[in-house]
């Protein structure tokens, strides 16, 4: 086989894996959008906050240490213990539920009935708030996240492909783990929404707010639930992303790429989020591989957005989105 084709295949595979990460973030968006019609711009920040909390708890960091030190002149930074990974994940998950509850009680509750765009801007405000709050709580250095996931090159794939094509593909173990976890997560979400009482209530709310309300489903509970689930999805995405590149605030900007993923897949479709993620992941890697060197590289910065923009001109509701019907 020609070498270029092999490279392209490797790039495609790696793109698929990167796409999984985008899809994980996009999943959180879709869940919230379906259940409450809120376009949650802050999902990327939730990912960062979840990951930071996990690392902070795991390494026994004292929250707001920097602030406390500044005010009281103390020199505290760590509790001096480390928490087992499982326990840390549970604590971080609980923190995300708390965040969901606070958001529902203090923000969304007061914005019911406002135009969608106001809610959208409120989530941008939340993004900004957490942009300051997360580093204030856990410090602004790059944090190393290690929950014991396999990392580094996958030897099996490397040797197998070497035997087949005479060229070993480089696939990171972590990416494979991420793909598996994402698949499990989606399966769990589908099972949850199909076979549990809360899941059914969730789907009812997604379908029609007032009808759900009239049969006795508590909107407030469902919203807290769905934001908690989105927080949990954010935690999973944060673990995957954080293990790969370390946890820092700029991760949230990368997570913004979940937005074009959503536009491509449609705001209301879970399969859309996954497929959109894969398309964007592969598309931007291949584009960078083929066209990037001609135009100076680093095209990943904008390719996803432009692709989504061009795509939307032809199909404004995305690949799997519900048809937009407008009435006067």
């Amino acid at each position: 086989m020609p070498e270029q084709l092999l490279f392209a295949m490797e790039v495609t595979l790696n793109g698929l894996m990167a796409g999984v990460l985008y899809a994980l973030v996009a999943l959180g968006f879709v869940l919230i959008f379906k259940a409450s019609g809120i376009f949650n711009f802050a999902q990327g920040m939730l990912v960062v906050f979840a990951a930071m909390t996990l690392v902070g708890v795991q390494t026994g960091q004292i929250p707001f240490a920097h602030l406390i030190n500044t005010i009281f002149g103390t020199k505290i930074h760590h509790f001096g213990w480390t928490v087992p990974t499982i326990l840390a994940i549970i604590v971080a998950g609980a923190a995300m539920v708390l965040v969901a509850w606070i958001i529902e009680k203090y923000i969304l509750q007061h914005l019911i009935g406002q135009p969608d765009i106001i809610l959208f801007m409120a989530t941008i405000g939340m993004w900004y708030f957490m942009h300051g709050f997360a580093p204030l709580m856990w410090g602004s250095e790059v944090m190393k996240l290690d929950v014991g996931l396999a990392q580094g090159i996958n030897e099996t794939i490397d040797t197998t492909t070497y035997n087949w094509f005479g060229y070993g593909f480089f696939i990171d173990n972590l990416d494979i783990v991420a793909a598996i976890v994402a698949a499990l997560l989606v399966a769990a979400l589908v099972l949850f929404s199909q076979y549990t009482k809360q899941g059914r209530a969730l789907r009812a709310v997604a379908d029609d707010h007032s009808a759900a309300l009239s049969v006795g489903i508590s909107l407030r509970f469902i919203w807290v639930l769905v934001w908690s689930i989105a927080g949990f999805v954010a935690l999973v995405a944060g673990i995957m992303w954080g293990s790969k590149s370390g946890v820092q605030i700029s991760l949230a900007e990368v997570a913004l790429k979940a937005l074009p993923v959503l536009m491509l897949g449609g705001f209301t479709s879970i399969p859309g989020a996954i497929i959109g993620g894969l398309i964007i992941g592969v598309g931007e890697q291949l584009f960078e591989f083929a066209i990037g060197p001609l135009v100076g590289g680093a095209t990943q910065a904008w390719f996803a957005y432009v692709l989504a923009l061009v795509f939307l001109i032809f199909r404004p509701q995305g690949l799997f989105g519900e048809k937009i019907i407008e009435r006067v």
Partner: protein
């Protein structure tokens, strides 16, 4: 007692429709203009211009631009930073290529170029609406910044990838470059701001502005009563980008003096200007000023109090700034979705009736 329409007889249609129907407001307007043009320039120093006046004026221009697009025409844009970059780089190229032409024209032409780019990125708004459009404008933001970083022609192949404003004069007075006097900086920004605000006010209260507002309130209904959505949306994008381009050009040439696309015109700039518009008040000229003033003054104040007086590290002050701004956005959206402008309006209503409660 004094803040009344009573006794101030309007005898023509023109009088009846003036921007400031109350005599005291009109007087206040002229006094503010007088103070801004004839008093402050004699007292400003570098600190005041660089940390307060210049950023306030320039951001007010950008906020006016975004307010036309978002507040009046209802098209949410997250690409303001990218469009400011277009203005800045266009101005730079023009300044270098045509050194003999007055910089005022460079800034205006840079605005025109930005308007063209804005229209190009605004075209999808005919098909894409609401937050789909907001995300689509992110394409402009990321693409434009990448373009100015990667294509060396835009920064004239300089080794650092930065653009530096050469020294240019208006009527023999240096207005760009390191040797600029504080008052010259102040004046050129002020002149542009007053011009832009005047144009914005008169556009938004005329037919163009009503078309924009019709599109904002419900585009299909507006189309049915005869507003051409293509013209209305494109004109909103053009005018808005023109103002934002001017702001970008001034930001680079007069205020910063040197700029690098990713750092000076990143996505945080887009958010910042959007926040000015939200906090100030969507669909209000006064709101753009109030929002810009608030967002410029707040960090300065925080820094002076926390870092200067209490000796806290700048890092914490910066984080607190994010928290306060984000929290304020949410609080404003909950309590007063129409922003500072609405508070101002309410105050004026109260003043009119004072000392009676109703």
């Amino acid at each position: 007692m004094f803040y009344r329409e009573a006794g101030d007889f309007k005898t023509s249609y023109r009088d009846d429709n003036q921007t400031f129907p109350i005599r005291l407001d009109r007087a206040g307007y002229w006094i503010v203009l007088f103070v801004a043009f004839c008093v402050i320039p004699f007292f400003v120093n570098d600190y005041w211009v660089n940390s307060i006046f210049a950023p306030f004026f320039i951001y007010a221009i950008a906020a006016l631009g975004l307010n036309i697009l978002t507040g009046y025409a209802g098209q949410v844009s997250l690409g303001t930073g990218g469009f400011m970059a277009v203005g800045a780089y266009a101005c730079y190229k023009l300044m270098v290529a045509f050194p003999d032409i007055n910089i005022v024209f460079h800034v205006l032409i840079a605005g025109g170029i930005t308007a063209a780019v804005g229209v190009a990125f605004g075209l999808p708004s005919l098909r894409i609406k609401g937050f789909y459009l907001a995300v689509a404008t992110l394409a402009a933001q990321f693409f434009l910044v990448w373009l100015f970083n990667k294509v060396a022609w835009f920064y004239n192949y300089s080794a650092s990838g930065q653009i530096n404003a050469p020294e240019r004069t208006v009527f023999g007075i240096i207005v760009t470059g390191p040797n600029t006097e504080a008052w010259a900086k102040y004046m050129i920004c002020l002149v542009f701001l007053v011009g832009v605000a005047w144009v914005a006010r008169n556009l938004t209260r005329g037919m163009t502005g009503r078309k924009w507002m019709g599109i904002r309130d419900m585009d299909i209904a507006a189309e049915i009563i005869g507003v051409n959505p293509l013209m209305a949306k494109m004109s909103a994008f053009a005018v808005s980008s023109f103002f934002v381009g001017i702001a970008g050009a001034l930001f680079f040439a007069v205020y910063l003096g040197a700029a690098e696309a990713g750092e000076s015109f990143g996505i945080t700039k887009s958010f910042l200007v959007l926040f000015m518009v939200i906090i100030g008040g969507l669909g209000s000229i006064f709101g753009s000023f109030a929002g810009a003033a608030f967002m410029v003054l707040m960090p300065v104040l925080l820094k002076n109090v926390l870092v200067g007086t209490m000796g806290w590290p700048t890092e914490i002050a910066a984080e607190l700034e994010f928290i306060i701004v984000g929290g304020l956005i949410v609080i404003f959206l909950i309590l007063e979705p129409h922003g500072l402008a609405q508070l101002w309006r309410l105050t004026k209503e109260k003043l009119r009736l004072w000392p009676f409660p109703h």
